[in-house]
């Protein structure tokens, strides 16, 4: 029970990595308030965790709307008393587009949700933590494309590099208040978006050839590092990003791919 008695906000908690972390946080003894724009999914996760004996609430939260963000944090404080942990995870990936064809609206939308959204939630939560004197832990969701890039995702790549910079700036700004700020940078993780790509065998092989450990990650593979960063065991870490990427960032060329993993 490594998060015993801790109180956490999680954005993007309705599915994928956010949902896996909500489940893991509760299993480790934390109480959580989930935010998402996916209302059905968010409510379902909160219900699942409550039925399993945990304390979990869902509050609608569109991170592009500062009113909703402030309401989300306030509702979290109402439900939990104080906030020790923020998993600042809401974000979108967007479709791949040729760089020369990318529209301004597309680019703006991704930066608005992924960067401005993260900034709004982090600022609102940070203000609460500082006001209450809480030495909290904030974990932002980056990506392996916080370090690498894809040519058809200029906005997404920019946003995740931006998350890395935001993480460092926040770490420095909040250090005097004892608040740590780190990020997790997942590699290729099995989510609804990824699975659409992996139906194509050629695409699947190409992805696997760039994963030394030889398999696509599960959302639970990201939850382990997030729990570590949320817990006191990382209390001398701030401004850092941990990459659960199956070894991709260390890899120069490609790995051999003999067979595709069984479904």
């Amino acid at each position: 029970m490594r998060l015993e008695g801790k109180r956490a906000l999680i954005t993007g908690g309705g599915r994928g990595i956010g949902r896996a972390c909500a489940r893991r946080f509760v299993a480790e003894g934390a109480s959580v308030v989930l935010g998402d724009i996916l209302l059905d999914e968010g409510r379902a996760v909160a219900a699942e965790l409550t039925q399993a004996g945990g304390k979990a609430t869902f509050v609608e939260c569109d991170v592009t709307d500062v009113g909703q963000v402030n309401n989300f944090v306030a509702a979290g404080v109402d439900a939990l008393g104080e906030i020790d942990i923020l998993f600042n995870n809401a974000g979108i990936i967007g479709p791949g587009t040729d760089f020369l064809e990318t529209t301004e609206d597309e680019f703006r939308r991704i930066i608005e949700i992924n960067v401005f959204g993260a900034f709004r939630v982090a600022q609102a939560t940070g203000r609460h933590m500082v006001d209450q004197g809480i030495s909290g832990s904030i974990i932002n969701t980056g990506s392996m494309v916080s370090a690498l890039a894809n040519p058809d995702q200029a906005a997404y790549v920019s946003s995740k590099h931006g998350i890395h910079g935001l993480t460092k700036a926040m770490a420095l700004a909040l250090a005097e208040h004892g608040i740590r700020v780190n990020a997790v940078g997942p590699g290729t993780i099995k989510t609804a978006v990824a699975e659409a790509v992996l139906v194509n065998e050629t695409a699947y092989r190409r992805v696997l050839s760039r994963i030394p450990l030889g398999y696509i990650g599960e959302p639970e593979d990201v939850a382990g590092p997030v729990v570590f960063l949320a817990s006191d065991e990382s209390s001398y870490m701030t401004g850092q990003i941990i990459y659960p990427d199956g070894g991709r960032l260390a890899l120069n060329h490609v790995m051999p791919v003999k067979e595709l993993p069984a479904a």
Binding site: A169, A171, V222, G224, S231, G239, Q240, L251
Partner: protein, 259 residues
């Protein structure tokens, strides 16, 4: 008890970071082979662990000697039946350092021989055993100086940057054989080794001005990270160095002085 039933080697276990990690691993249920060239410290930590209800033995090991490195792994297998985790904290730093124009070849060879070659020898010996079962976690100790250098420890800094490269290469080489290899990059951790650099209050103030969290790290801070890398919580992480340095790597200038 996150390492219940696991067997771990910890080199450099006689003091400092290695000692803190050996104790934490044992507290989490691992059987620990505590290795060092500093026999007094190694014997003491093993006895302490046993007296606290854990399992540990001491084994003398100079990691820069390939025969001793292989023998250490064999000791783990003979005593506890296998090897799941190898945490390589053994390392040296020349007292006072040396001006880069004065650094002697013999000092260079010695520091590289222990810190880089020794790490390689232990990693290789451990991996040879772990690949038999197809599972294991190897953790090396690099340093924040691998990325941000100090000017009077050329061999030490080079050895730690080398540990980063070794970690990545071995991670790739072993990725299809079930063994993960990662490293920890400590910042300024309060140990005897750190005392070599922090010779006075002015030096300490200078270091704190470059440490956003405004405190020295403790061996326990590194132990928590080592535990993460030894456990299944990091099962999708390999070839990484995790920096535990109180925020220094993010910092452009200096922090305002604290009262």
């Amino acid at each position: 008890m996150r390492l219940e039933g696991k067997v771990a080697i910890v080199t450099g276990a006689g003091r400092g970071i290695g000692r803190g990690c050996a104790k934490r691993f044992a507290a989490e249920g691992a059987a620990v082979v505590a290795a060092d060239v500093y026999d007094e410290g190694g014997v003491e930590v093993a006895a302490e662990i046993e007296s606290e209800g854990g399992r540990a033995i001491f084994a003398h090991c100079d990691i820069s000697d390939s025969v001793q490195a292989a023998a250490l792994v064999q000791t783990a297998v003979d005593t506890y039946g296998g090897l799941d985790v190898s945490l390589n904290c053994a390392g040296i730093i020349p007292i006072d350092g040396s001006d880069v124009l004065e650094t002697e070849e013999v000092e260079w060879d010695r520091v590289i021989g222990v810190n880089l070659k020794g790490t390689f020898l232990i990693c290789q010996a451990a991996a040879r055993e772990m690949t038999k079962k197809g599972t294991g976690s190897i953790i090396n100790i690099a340093s924040v100086t691998a990325l941000m250098a100090i000017g009077n420890q050329a061999a030490y800094v080079a050895s730690k940057a080398g540990v980063n490269g070794l970690t990545k290469s071995m991670a790739i080489g072993l990725a299809h054989r079930g063994v993960r290899v990662n490293a920890i990059g400590p910042g300024s951790i309060e140990t005897d080794m750190m005392a070599v650099i922090l010779t006075d209050e002015e030096a300490t103030a200078r270091v704190m001005a470059r440490t956003p969290l405004n405190r020295m790290g403790q061996p326990e801070d590194i132990a928590g990270t080592a535990l993460f890398l030894a456990s299944d919580d990091s099962s999708y992480i390999t070839g990484q160095t995790i920096y535990v340095e109180g925020g220094r790597l993010a910092l452009n200038h200096t922090m305002p002085p604290k009262g």
